[in-house]
């Protein structure tokens, strides 16, 4: 059993692209945990998707052996945290498993939104912070400035800040020494009943679910009968071990250590992040604090383009869920798009990743409707009804008012763009909360705005308005009342369910007009005039007409034209099959897709 005093559990936290992964790679290399030969850039990235995007979602934990300057051998457990705001809960549980954190800041970018977001989380968990300025090798780096910023931010001594270049391997030793010297060893009692924190889990096709643990009290060995405290589920431990980063079985995990167990758990959703593992027969009195069930915030409909692809989509989602506890889905039917699923995600990035994986790994051809949120209708009888699909909104006569989820958005932006950003926020129904000059030339703006406004193209707009200099972080702050209405779309007098949307009254007319205008361009002319209308209840808020088709004829049809013309007509007839008949009007599938994606 390894001496507890020589264990260090730490994480690396950073804003996206500040070099966290490269630093982790260099540490592995430096300590000989991975030989040069096995080194693939950012080897801790497990999934191809993330490698291509250059962002990290899930990295495996790693146990590193390091012989420090004091001559002792230390067990350094590096626990990675997901870098994106969508996964802040996961970040917090990973941090809860540590005693310290290396805060990495890009010398050319300086402190950014998620630097602070993650930092605040680390401080909340009472972690010792080791500030590191990375990428000092870059031409545009201003390391001294960033050092000053960190001193101001953390209240630490200038000498505490370590200068590094993960790319060139500078400062690695200093960082490791700092980990050993400044981060305290874990506390906890070996004799006390087992309490281990689940900070992650992943699915392995051979071993089943691999549960990532930090042991706080007691120990865990193969053969132990354990209970997961949040769900009450009981399992037998079939294997214990640690990460190197590959799985290495061992006899047991002891107080203060980080590793994994397998226990015939079939789905990752059964091993909840933040849950406490204890003994079934001699359980701990209280679970470890901080557990929170995963809650999807952003919803989108996913439909196979070809109706025959439904089973494939279903299977693919099942497989994805094995490794993604935060993904939720339920069957849904759309009048326009047929059978599919309404999926729940932690955020837009999560949604993007799932969509890309479905298309890439499973080869699916999908239509994804625009992301939406879960609304809450408070009825006149006091009952609260949650709904995501406009179709599922209760009858308007029964509704007293509607609430929608809000977020607190923290935006960092250089002074010169403050005006533009404030205008953008104003357009998005955001409520101004505060403005402060946190750092030289970087203004912090805090707004409360509806999640629905955020998940459309808010981030993209923010980036383009500020030429990429703005950064955004947000957290959910609960439901608030809003003047929301349902806009219906009628084609030739018939309501098209699939195109209804929930939107704020102030922008309803503009949105209705936009959809009508899009439809006008997408629905082919019929032999009769077609009226297009947007309505709130029975009130028409926008209308346009599609004039009837008057000329559709081939000028020349002589000997050599006959075959070609007939083939064209046959193709046209085939095309008609892809049209959805609403009343007397044929609406192309593409029309639905274009509108549902945009709005």
């Amino acid at each position: 059993m390894f001496p507890k005093e020589q264990i260090r559990n730490y994480s690396i936290i950073a804003h996206v692209d500040h070099g966290k992964s490269t630093l982790a790679d260099r540490i592995l290399e430096f300590t000989g945990t991975i030989s040069q030969r096995d080194m693939v850039d950012q080897v801790l990235d497990q999934m191809e998707l993330e490698r291509e995007r250059g962002i990290t979602i899930k990295m495996q934990p790693v146990r590193i052996k390091y012989k420090a300057d004091d001559g002792l051998e230390y067990q350094l457990n590096l626990i990675d945290t997901p870098g994106h705001v969508d996964f802040s809960y996961e970040v917090s549980r990973s941090l809860a498993a540590c005693e310290g954190a290396i805060l990495v800041v890009d010398a050319s970018q300086g402190i950014e939104a998620q630097t602070l977001a993650n930092l605040y989380q680390a401080i909340e968990h009472d972690l010792v912070i080791i500030p590191v300025v990375n990428k000092i090798d870059l031409e545009q780096a201003r390391p001294e400035q960033v050092r000053q910023d960190l001193v101001a931010l953390l209240g630490c001594a200038p000498d505490d800040v370590i200068m590094a270049s993960a790319k060139l391997g500078i400062g690695i030793k200093e960082i490791l020494e700092a980990v050993v010297k400044r981060i305290p060893p874990p506390t906890g009692s070996l004799e006390a009943p087992l309490r281990a924190l689940i900070f992650d889990a992943h699915f392995d096709s051979y071993k089943g679910v691999i549960v990532h643990l930090r042991v706080f009290d007691g120990s865990i060995k193969t053969g132990d009968q354990i209970q997961l405290m949040a769900t009450g589920a009981v399992h037998d431990v079939t294997e214990t071990g640690y990460f190197s980063p590959w799985l290495v079985p061992t006899d047991g995990l002891y107080t203060g250590e980080v590793g994994y167990i397998t226990a015939n758990i079939r789905e990752v959703s059964q091993a909840r992040v933040g849950d406490t593992v204890t003994y079934f027969l001699n359980p701990a009195a209280d679970p470890l604090p901080g557990y929170r069930p995963a809650k999807p915030m952003v919803f989108a409909g996913m439909f196979p383009v070809d109706p025959g692809g439904y089973e494939d989509l279903k299977e693919a989602l099942e497989k994805l869920k094995l490794n993604d506890a935060a993904l939720s889905y339920e069957p849904e039917v759309s009048t326009a798009l047929g059978f599919g699923f309404r999926c729940g995600f932690l955020g837009l990035l999560h949604m993007d990743i799932v969509q890309e994986r479905l298309e890439r790994e499973f080869g699916l051809n999908l239509i994804t409707t625009a992301p939406s949120v879960e609304y809450k209708a408070v009825l006149r009888n006091g009952e609260a009804v949650y709904f995501r699909n406009p179709d599922a909104m209760p009858d308007i006569s029964k509704i007293d008012y509607i609430e929608e989820p809000f977020v607190k958005a923290t935006i960092f932006v250089p002074e010169e763009y403050v005006g533009a950003v404030m205008e953008l926020c104003h357009d998005r129904r955001a409520e101004f909360i505060s403005m402060s000059y946190e750092l030289k030339e970087r203004v912090q703006l805090v707004y409360h705005l509806p999640l629905a406004e955020l998940i459309t193209d808010f981030y993209d707009r923010l980036k383009s308005l500020t030429r990429g200099y703005a950064s955004l972080d947000y957290e959910h702050i609960g439901y608030k009342r809003s003047d929301l209405v349902k806009v219906d779309i009628l084609v030739a007098g018939n309501k098209v369910d699939a195109l209804s949307c929930i939107i704020h009254r102030d922008v309803a007319e503009a949105r209705g007009r936009k959809i009508i205008s899009m439809l006008r361009g997408l629905i082919p002319r019929q032999l009769f005039e077609v009226s297009l209308q947007a309505a709130i209840g029975s009130k028409i808020i926008a209308r346009e007409n599609i004039p009837p088709l008057r000329k559709d004829v081939l000028a020349k049809c002589y000997g050599g034209d006959v075959t070609r013309k007939r083939k064209l007509l046959e193709k046209q007839k085939e095309g008609k099959k892809r049209l959805k008949r609403i009343g007397n009007v044929d609406i192309p599938q593409e029309a639905f897709m274009s509108i549902l994606k945009q709005t």
Binding site: L549, R550, V553, L554, K573
Partner: protein, 357 residues
């Protein structure tokens, strides 16, 4: 190119002989020399070709023999020679009289040359002349189009074809459209021009007998009517199309073969096998195709005749479709057996076509 004329026609003569081995044709009702621009060819070569045709097959006394001509290559001498060879109808590709519009179309020549060509034909004794005109050219409005028609009517040809401009990919016109230099197709504007054009020509005594074709009584284009009535015909030469109906003992068309030749001149001249591709239509498809073509003309479909040509099952199917088209006001029914396209059906002929295929 000129040095290929002779070998080309040699090959055409050879093809005729090959065709005759399979289809023993006797006495042609109509002959059409299209293109390409046959008017550019030395009339002596045409004389040679017609000798072959007369010798190998024979041309009926009352046959219609047409040549397509570019106004710039119709001098009096050529016109005489064509008459001598047996050509009795000329289709003159004038397209328009407005120099600006002709420029947009990339046509050389002008109204003077067109008029001169026409006069040469008349002087040479031609009594059956067609003029081709194009509408829907960018920048052409109703006034401009009616002026063009008036000038054509002034000449008093027996037949006038009016074609809506099409933008084919890989043409200069198409590229200029894609570059934003000129406007693209506009069905609503085209409708107006097509409608006003028909009005003017009908008022001037021309019958609107097919979507794009107007003629005085007695001068409907016989060759083209054969296309629209799904007659059998043989095409020889580069890119030529042929159509052969196979009937059973009861006169029912069981199959229709359509085949066509390769399109590259050098390949046509050099190869022994000049077939490009073909298709075989079954009874029902052939019937639907015939109906679709026939409804481009005022003659339309006579159900009884149709039944005798394709059988009762095919006729029933077509009748159902035509009733639907009638409901949409695209065709009308006369005496319970004769379906003809309505005006609306002329303009929206593709909509009938989609129902039929």
């Amino acid at each position: 190119m000129k040095n290929l004329y002779a070998p080309y026609l040699q090959r055409v003569k050879a093809e005729i002989r090959e065709v005759l081995k399979v289809y023993p044709l006797v006495e042609l009702d109509s002959v059409y020399l299209g293109g390409g621009t046959p008017s550019l060819v030395d009339p002596a070569l045409l004389e040679d070709l017609f000798e072959e045709i007369e010798g190998q097959i024979g041309i009926a006394q009352e046959a219609e023999v047409t040549v397509e001509a570019n106004p710039l290559s119709v001098d009096y001498q050529n016109a005489i020679k064509w008459r001598d060879v047996g050509i009795n109808r000329v289709s003159l590709g004038i397209q328009g009289f407005d120099p600006d519009l002709l420029a947009i179309l990339g046509r050389k020549g002008d109204s003077k040359a067109s008029r001169a060509a026409y006069e040469n034909l008349r002087e040479a004794g031609f009594t059956n002349i067609n003029i081709d005109l194009i509408f829907g050219v960018p920048g052409q409005d109703e006034v401009s189009w009616s002026r063009t028609l008036e000038r054509a009517i002034e000449l008093q040809p027996e037949h006038i074809s009016t074609y809506c401009l099409t933008y084919e990919p890989n043409t200069l016109l198409y590229k200029r459209w894609q570059n934003g230099e000129i406007d693209g197709p506009d069905p609503d504007r085209e409708y107006i021009l097509m409608e006003s054009g028909a009005r003017i020509l009908e008022a001037a005594g021309y019958k609107w007998y097919e979507i794009s074709n107007f003629a005085k009584d007695g001068f409907f284009g016989r060759h083209n009517l054969a296309y629209w009535d799904a007659h059998s015909y043989i095409g020889v030469g580069c890119g030529a199309h042929s159509c052969v109906n196979f009937k059973n003992n009861n006169g029912i068309t069981e199959k229709r073969l359509r085949y066509w030749n390769v399109g590259a001149v050098k390949e046509y001249i050099a190869e022994a096998d000049i077939a490009d591709d073909f298709e075989v239509l079954d009874n029902k498809t052939a019937a639907a195709e015939h109906a679709e073509l026939a409804l481009r003309t005022i003659f339309g479909i006579n159900l009884k005749k149709f039944e005798s040509q394709y059988g009762s099952s095919a006729a029933e199917q077509i009748k159902d479709v035509l009733e639907h088209a009638r409901h949409l006001e695209l065709v009308e029914l006369e005496n319970s057996v004769q379906y003809r396209p309505t005006r609306k059906g002329y303009f929206l002929n593709n909509q009938i076509g989609v129902l039929l295929v």
